[in-house]
Amino acid sequence: MSEEPGADAAPQLVPLNAIFATDFVQILVPVTTANTMQEVAAAVAYHVEGRRVRALPYQKVVIYQGERLPAEMTVAAAGLKPLDHIAVEYDIPEGS
């Protein structure tokens, strides 16, 4: 199994430690190496948004090791590994 699967490799499961915005707890969120950051953000938000954290009308962004990851970047391309921690935040425009 290669560490960085190519486009033709079967997606690998990547369980993440995730926190959504102002939620009170880190949660387990499984994604795959093929998921984009937009999909990862949605997977994390699914468990929290509108359930414990009021939904806001903004895009969501994945933050990994202090860096914002582009929405179309895949988990494999971002180098996210199983058990890594990510935060998902609303991308609130300045002045909002």
Binding site: P15, N17, I19, T22, D23, F24, V25, Q26, I27, L28, V29, Y46, H47, E49, G50, R51, R52, V53, R54, A55, L56, P57, K81, P82, L83, D84, H85, A87
Partner: protein
């Protein structure tokens, strides 16, 4: 023949010891059990308990206590007292029975280990009394909880909890295995009698006894008060042990005390903090958890360690900040993951209850109010399923409790931060800096996998909510639910509520 007076024989028998000639001392007191470390063997000869007791005195006193506790129980058994108790308070007792009964039995084994491997006759003698105490506590707690099984199957977890793979039970086993089962007797004497029993059983037994009486649960108050009188006596095993260890190995003494205080504080935040500030009905609360901690635990702990020449633990600021956060976050976690527990957690966030919380904890609304508001609005929208979990909380690799401790940023916002550690080819996550530090220094001792670890290792099948609940031993008749959603949501009914899960779906 006339009996000798107590003072004529006690000094002789209380510390009977002898030198071995046919076997090595090491064979009788192996280091991995006796744990003398840097303390010279001879130094233990001066070990002396401050309150001395003889076996006849012990038996007479304990008989009296047992008679009294069971007399009250027998009288109340015929009354309808239990039926009239608040559901929140019943939850506090279910949590106590399940969390404590077999933990007391673990303490029996720890006391027996001290009774066998303690390096002074008086210490071993004292530990025999301690073991008899703990056996009584395991029995009385199990027996009192057992009575209610016919009325409510959740009380069946009085005996069951400790033997399940419920995440709360694993957290307790992790705590007590480190404190009692795997430790040598010197460390046990510091961890169990000194830190846990001198400090923290006060919290569960004294604070909860007051709340029990106020809530009308005389039987429970009577039971835990009876237990606490034993704790007060046998907890003094720790003092003389610490005195000797501080003299010969102060670094070890400081470390053992520090890590046990922290581990105990984490567990009791879940066990007692939630009971005091949420499950006890508002009108019956005597003190907030923080107030009780400050008055009964912190002042006493600081006095004790200073008396022995130890310093405040390195994590003190983090601990004090946690008094405003830990148990509130754990309460929310227990409520959200309520199908995984054996009691019915009352959310207890009505306007009056929130006003009390905000008065006692000025940051409560800022840190927790927004989440409860969304939960309340979901309940009032008829969408209780939206408040139920579909994944696991991440559990700390040291305390096994959810990673849920928000801290304040310089800009004033509150966020749950990650405290990771890469070790031995994998990444671990911790709820706090101190839990990470304890894991690192004790990494050779940590041997329980969290439920998240077990899930990811494929030990839980099928890998879904049903599989997780079955793995934990939860059955539909036992798994927790809020006993009265209306009680804490009705005052908010009809207010505008945006950004709920259905609304979010419509926006996308």
């Amino acid at each position: 023949m006339a009996l000798l007076k107590r003072e004529e024989w006690q000094g002789f028998v209380r510390d009977v010891d002898w030198s071995y000639s046919y076997v090595d001392d090491e064979a009788v007191y192996p280091e991995w059990h006796s744990g003398t470390g840097k303390v010279p063997r001879a130094a233990w000869q001066v070990w002396e308990e401050s309150y001395k007791v003889t076996y006849p005195e012990y038996v007479a006193t304990q008989r009296e206590k047992e008679t009294s506790a069971y007399a009250v129980k027998a009288a109340l058994q015929r009354s309808a007292t239990w039926e009239g108790l608040d559901e929140g308070w019943k939850s506090a007792t279910k949590m106590h029975f399940g969390g404590v009964s077999l933990s007391e039995y673990a303490a029996v084994l720890a006391e027996l280990k001290m009774a066998r491997f303690g390096l002074n006759g008086a210490w071993r003698n004292m530990a025999v009394f301690g073991e008899l105490d703990e056996l009584r506590h395991a029995s009385i707690t199990t027996f009192f909880g057992h009575e209610f099984i016919s009325r409510d199957p959740q009380y069946d977890w009085t005996l069951k909890t400790y033997q399940t793979n419920d995440w709360v039970a694993i957290s307790l086993r992790n705590l007590f295995d480190g404190m009692m089962s795997s430790a040598n007797v010197v460390d046990i004497a510091l961890q169990l009698p000194l830190v846990f029993e001198t400090g923290f059983t006060n919290l569960q037994f004294v604070a909860l006894a007051a709340d029990a009486l106020a809530s009308g649960d005389v039987n429970f108050a009577n039971m835990i008060s009876s237990i606490q009188t034993d704790e007060a006596r046998h907890s003094q095993q720790g003092g003389p042990t610490l005195e000797i260890l501080v003299e010969h190995d102060p670094v070890r003494a400081q470390w053992v005390v520090d890590k046990t205080f922290w581990a105990s504080a984490r567990a009791l935040a879940a066990l007692t903090g939630t009971s005091m500030d949420y499950y006890t009905p508002l009108e019956h609360r005597k003190q907030s958890y923080r107030e009780f901690m400050e008055e009964w635990i912190i002042d006493q702990f600081i006095r004790t360690i200073e008396q022995y020449g130890l310093r405040k633990p390195w994590y003190w600021d983090e601990f004090m900040q946690g008094l405003d956060i830990w148990h509130h976050a754990l309460h929310m976690g227990l409520w959200v993951w309520r199908p995984t527990i054996w009691w019915r957690p009352m959310a207890a966030v009505s306007p009056d209850e929130r006003a009390w919380l905000a008065e006692k904890y000025p940051n409560w609304e800022k840190v927790f109010g927004d989440k409860w508001d969304v939960i309340i609005d979901n309940v009032n929208a008829g969408n209780v399923p939206a408040t139920l979990p579909e994944t696991l909380p991440w559990l700390c690799s040291t305390c096994h409790l959810p990673c849920c401790n928000a801290t304040q940023s310089r800009n004033g916002t509150w966020r749950v931060r990650d405290f990771p550690l890469s070790y031995d080819g994998r990444t671990y996550h911790f709820c706090t800096k101190a839990c990470r530090q304890i894991f690192w220094k004790d990494r050779a001792n940590v041997n329980h996998l969290t439920v998240v670890d077990r899930f990811l290792a494929g030990q839980i099948q099928p890998m879904d909510v049903g599989g997780i609940l079955a793995y934990m031993g939860l059955t539909p008749d036992v798994m927790g639910d809020d006993p009265d959603y209306q009680a804490w949501t009705k005052d908010y009914a009809g207010r505008p509520a945006e950004g709920l899960v259905a609304t979010a779906a419509a926006q996308s």
